[in-house]
Subunit: 345 residues, 4 copies
């Protein structure tokens, strides 16, 4: 059994990790830290876990994280990089669900997150945890920067096209929509039920932290310079993410060939489902599962290709993907503990 | 034109007052105070009011509330009683939407609200602002304690029965359900979208502040001692309140007579709608309006009578009722500025 | 492996059965019938099941239900009783999720469901499938009448009290609230998103089919005649059921003793969670799982006891409970395939 | 008083017309037809209208529509064109909220709506009812084709740019999101609460009827051939529409000049609100009102301009706009009866 620690388990990615790990056959949760909630049984904060997670939160100094095999950070940006060097020295692997190990470019990191990076050497070693595009590196990694939720959909949606060199990389548009849980479990007015319900809006159109991460990764897929317009929106639903991606084809290609390109790219992937051409994937078809679904559209058979991508932002977009990485790092079946069937309705 | 001031207009009852007053033909908003938002145009906080409410918030010291004809307090408990004596001295009438002037019993006030009452003489003079039960007193009042949302439904639902002396006053049950806006516009975890959506729960079953207020008022309607079980629940909707009231009949009486009792009681009321016997009123049938609807049920024609009551908690349950009181206090038509048709769907 | 057939898998209890069975380690779905959808892959109707349920719907004549070990009926009332005698003759066990085998009193059945019962002998043999109250009979049953969703909460909530003889059985009130999926997957105006969202209402207050079923079962728990007032309400959420039960205590008893009564009654139950006295269980704490949670309240330590009960109406209220019965009938661990951790948020 | 008739008032645009007309100071509803609901009081179907709309539905043969001054058609496509010639002959003006008089090109009409146009001469005379772009023609029109909801947002969003000739008309993308009421009040599985809630999806990406209408109108604004990619999505909210429009600038132009272009274009419009550059308009800021709000964004000051447009799909997107047209046709103030303040929260 893999001994697992969680730092900062009071947020939504934290409780989602707990939900997954509670039934993971090869992992055992041994410590979960929260400075503020020291001593509080996890199930008192999350009654959904009554009888399923017997642990209590403990303050970081009491939790013996160094005895874990792997520690997940479900914390605000900046926490993981402060603690990772010591954990690595103790032989503990680290998976950070925040952004500390996502951006290779430290200047970009400082610009977008407003703090200097405190361990650039660890960052240099860290592996970007998107298994479908980076599986081998993840297997041998000691430190994982788990991808952002939006970037996961944009990368898996654009990848076959950029790789094949058949779209204009300088003209990518991603019109993305996220459920409210993506904003985290924070006491903020804007995500109150009475504010976010029965409402729809765009946000952060002027610039969102997921842009530099996505562009850095997309740029690896092609030689031409990538330019990305990214427009996030808030949907009155708890979970779910829907990205509507627009790309301009630069080659003559049939719809069948486009479909085949996607199907062959993801044929062996357990968590990527390429639906029939012209499908309309629904976010709920992934609810509570680690699946990501993709469908292609080409209005009037013109030059604009539309790629629709859906996932559960807390699963494939966060905690599920992190466990998928853990499985790879410890030589387990990639879908171990991740076989949840989506909850519908 | 009546000159109106609002203290504390940043919450949901505040913005609802603004919505009503923006089209009220006989009232003009002249000041709105907020210590924190001094100088901020109201429409910057609430874009729904762009072009409709040209005022900015001002700090209390700058706003000349003494020049108003009436001031509404849409503030936390305790604020109104601190400022009311000075306003009264300046000839300004006061309508408090919080609890400062609801409970005549100061000991009860202190017990339930945790602060001593600072102006018991004003409290003594204050009138409980439920127009259907207290119209004449409201007309000549200088200070109004505007009823709580739940108490409004319980009083109007039980009143005809208690008055007629045909139910057991010592055995009243009110199983009530409120939309989330009833909890106010506060940055609290429990009312986040991701917490309150797709969920249902009871809360404060051990004791809620609306109990003493309701019992004090119900007790006026009958000689027998009133005993009330009150169970509030949180519904994943923005606005709306549904009270399911249970009473034991103590007399032989036909359903027709019961229906006639309610219809005759409220025949002349513009904001109370007695629906046909056996109806199922929906909260949305009152959304955005000052209407309260009532329907009677009597399962198996037995001794238990069920009274269903719905209203919009921010309107008849708060701001609408306050303006209804204002209209009475200033000799206007009672429905002046309150003719909104419910928004459905 | 148990060979499982499903009749009528296109509704919400049907797809929930599919979700459970897709990961059940001891059961294998071998046939799923739908006259209308003959030939349609299940995953085409429910994309959430893509890659998880490889079957297609087949018309009843093609499906070899007689080869199954057990057949679930997730059909409208009347279908199961038409097909059960033949299945029994072929040695197939039957679990009906509709009402055909719930009511022992055929006159009551005919009165409430409007059709005569076509196999009263099978009905006589049928076992009411509430494992916590009827475990031994279920183990050896050939035919199960799976309880209604509301009745499950009312029975498990009132049972310890009626059994102990400490409440007035003639004065029970159940104020119940259900998510919209309880109304099924039918094209009806009243359950459209634009009708049911941001709204709350009672329905069927004059009489609901779950009353006779519940009373028949409650009556078994005590000698005194049971009288039940049942008021169902519709909550704008997909899944979840919250029952607020009111009972009058007829004995002096401490809150500790009441709590102990419930805890000892359900100590060995894996799917009944008695929460600490005074808790407020949330429906979402059971979402997608087979758990039912109970909490006690006693306002002002008076004679009225409030029992709060929550469950997922599609799981413990329907499909989960049916699989729990199947597990018992086939000698499996009772929680086999039912270890889902609730999905929160 | 203008005598108003409504054909087909049982849907959502119909009840919204009723809500508006109930408080319109210059219009009187004199007839409302429904073949199916003949004799049913309108308030029995819509309790929100109890006491506000005293009329009953009547079958078309009984309703004297010829006595009206104007008749609104809130019917499926095809109904208005069948009845309009007779009404015109009787001197009655017609406003069709469906598509019968939107598309000037009858071949396009037949292609997209699957029926031939039965009165092309009336179509030729009909005026497209978008007041901001077509005010003078509307004033003297006898027949109005009221715009679709999506087309209203796309036209008002792209118009200043196309008119000024500063974007590439052949490369327009409209990623649009609508509340569920846009699908109408029809008993269909896909818009059930349990299907549409907590979910997000695109639909009709391969081709939507609002494309030809929009292109026909956009083409009037510029010489260059218009090409439009239109992707509609379904949002789990009742009302509200959010269009995210992408255009490529073809000229050097400052953000200030872009903002000024929009502000000057709509300076005198009562129902178009150009918000400050970089704002994120929320759909709820228009809920229940006839307002449409626009905001501009320009990521990284590049060549892609984003125009965000929000409206209430039942108001400015349907019934509100229709009444705005009626006001113009009868020489009333354009905002007569349309002064609703948006309902927020």
């Amino acid at each position: 059994m893999i001994k697992v620690g969680i730092v900062g388990g009071t947020g939504y990615t934290g409780v989602e990790l707990l939900r997954i790990l509670a039934t993971h056959p090869e992992a055992q949760l041994t410590a979960i830290t929260s400075r503020k909630e020291d001593g509080l049984p996890v199930a008192d904060m999350y009654p959904s876990l009554r009888g399923r997670v017997p642990l209590a939160f403990s303050s970081p100094d009491k939790a013996n994280l160094n005895d874990c095999d792997v520690v997940f950070f479900a914390t605000p940006h900046g926490v993981a990089m402060a603690q990772t060097p010591e954990l690595l020295a103790a032989g503990v692997k680290v998976i950070d669900l925040a952004a500390d190990f996502r951006l290779k470019d430290v200047a970009q990191f400082q610009q977008w997150y407003g703090i200097p990076h405190t361990c650039p050497d660890v960052l240099h070693e860290a592996v970007y945890g998107l298994p479908e595009l980076n599986r081998e590196a993840i297997k041998s990694a000691r430190v994982i920067g788990n991808p952002g939720c939006y970037p996961t959909t944009m990368q898996l949606g654009f990848y076959p096209l950029l790789k094949a060199g058949i779209i204009d990389a300088s003209n990518l548009i991603a019109d993305c929509k996220s459920g409210v849980s993506g904003a985290g479990r924070k006491a903020e007015i804007g995500i109150l039920f009475s504010e976010a319900s029965d409402n729809f809006k765009a946000y952060a159109v002027a610039g969102h932290r997921h842009v530099p991460e996505t562009v850095e990764q997309l740029q690896k897929m092609c030689a031409a310079p990538v330019n990305l317009i990214f427009t996030p929106h808030l949907v009155p639903m708890i979970r779910g993410m829907h990205s509507t991606l627009y790309a301009k084809l630069t080659t003559e290609i049939s719809n069948e060939a486009l479909q085949e390109l996607f199907e062959s790219t993801y044929r062996d992937e357990q968590f990527v489902d390429v639906m029939p051409f012209g499908s309309h994937p629904e976010t709920r078809s992934t609810r509570g599962s680690n699946m990501l679904r993709i469908a292609l559209h080409r209005p009037a058979n013109g030059a604009t290709l539309i790629v629709l991508v859906v996932q559960d932002n807390l699963m494939k977009g966060a905690a599920g993907q992190a466990v998928q990485c853990m499985n790879l790092m410890f030589g387990l079946q990639e879908n171990c503990g991740l076989t949840h069937v989506p909850l519908l309705p």
